[in-house]
């Protein structure tokens, strides 16, 4: 395949946050155990279907987390990692923090979906700290999530407000994990990150050639999925 390949374009316009969440949700294999990071990744839960039978993990100590709690459902003792009240699905379980992070560190989660400031060509993730002088650092579970899941998916806009690519040769922000990201879902394309570099599975509103003009990392078209 060549850089001028245009069949990758699956949408005429860039994807909005909800369409992107829908795409990620569709890509999660049935029966998976998944952790959705705070912020944009949380949207993915809106598009998981009952048939997919996905079990959501929240690192503060629960498997089988249900949707956000509303009204009478709200219980201060039942919150997610973002400290938002959530609900409990049948078949849920509770455990303490060491057991919860053992689930992640031990590689038992199939997929973790995270936001990002930058993703490098070798899958390094930067999503916890701007590195700005005087900024108070706070890491939470970001490094544990980046390190633990079998697959780490990132959701982000491709470009910063200033127009710089968040897919980079090497992260300029302090990193969260080394070589951990396997896929980046952005408004302009889905990037697959593997041992032989960055390939593009599909593009939204641009051709691969136009995408390459935005991204300072050599791109190639991904082989069609089997």
């Amino acid at each position: 395949m060549s850089l001028t390949e245009t069949s990758l374009k699956t949408s005429e316009t860039p994807l909005g946050r909800d369409d992107l969440a829908k795409l990620v949700a569709r890509d999660i294999a049935p029966g998976s155990f998944v952790n959705l990071g705070i912020g944009q990744p949380t949207l993915v839960s809106n598009y998981l279907t009952e048939e997919q039978n996905i079990t959501l993990h929240t690192e503060n100590g629960m498997l089988g987390m249900g949707p956000e709690a509303k009204g009478d459902q709200i219980d201060g003792d039942l919150i997610n990692a973002g400290k938002i009240p959530v609900t409990e699905l049948p078949g849920a379980s509770y455990f303490h923090h060491a057991d919860s992070f053992a689930i992640m560190r031990g590689g038992h989660l199939d997929i973790c979906v995270l936001g990002a400031f930058q993703v490098s060509a070798t899958g390094d993730l930067a999503n916890w700290h701007t590195g700005a002088p005087g900024a108070i650092p706070a890491v939470g579970g970001a490094m544990d999530l980046a390190t633990g899941a079998k697959d780490v998916f990132v959701m982000m806009t491709l470009l910063t407000r200033e127009g710089a690519s968040k897919i980079v040769d090497a992260c300029s922000y302090p990193i969260t994990g080394v070589g951990c990201v396997t896929r980046a879902y952005t408004d302009k394309a889905v990037f697959l990150i593997g041992p032989d570099g960055v390939s593009v599975r599909e593009t939204f509103g641009c051709t691969l050639e136009e995408l390459q003009d935005l991204v300072p990392v050599p791109l190639k078209a991904a082989p069609a999925a089997g």
Partner: protein, 229 residues
Amino acid sequence: MLNFVDSVQDAVAGIKDGSTVMIGGFGNAGQPFELIDALLDCGATDLTVVNNNAGQGEQGLALLIKEGRVKKMICSFPRQSDSWHFDAKYKAGEIELELVPQGNLAERIRAAGAGIGGFFTPTGYGTMLAEGKETRFLDGKWQVFETPIHADVALVKALKADGKGNLVYRKTARNFGPIMAAAAKHTIVQVSDIVPTGGLDPENVVTPGIYVNSIVKVAGSGSAAEKVA
């Protein structure tokens, strides 16, 4: 030796200046607010506090920090929209911060309770939080050496205790309670309810009484929801 005390004041009376104090809770869930308030009142200072966060708003740990009683925080997520007391002390150079990834924090606390002298974890490898730490390639990945976090005192909130000090928790309020109870020399627990010995199913005990030293019943402290409301 287990004892049941009548007030949160009595429960925290023995906490000395310079102690390392673990405080359970993640957000409001599982925060032993009443015990923290009593710690504030009792005057102990020069404390090292272990908690996931570094206080929020105008309550609990945030007030301990505001009053200058905390010399060092060991936590994973100090910066929040309402962590202004920590932020101010930190920027003024008046509080020390040891920032630990949340899972490493949990595992280091667990290690202290379990008598493990140190362990290698992949979390944090290659990041600024592992700078200066020993690393080793194990099980196919680079890992960082981390050491246990011991404490003099743990303040924990549970749902129920029985006469032997066995504890059960409620939903995600369980979080750090069980591992902190095991890691501290002296564990103080506030519960909503004390049941007779035999009133908890032995299969369902989460924290065995061997880890508990003082228990105080705090009316209506069952759910963080009430606190928020």
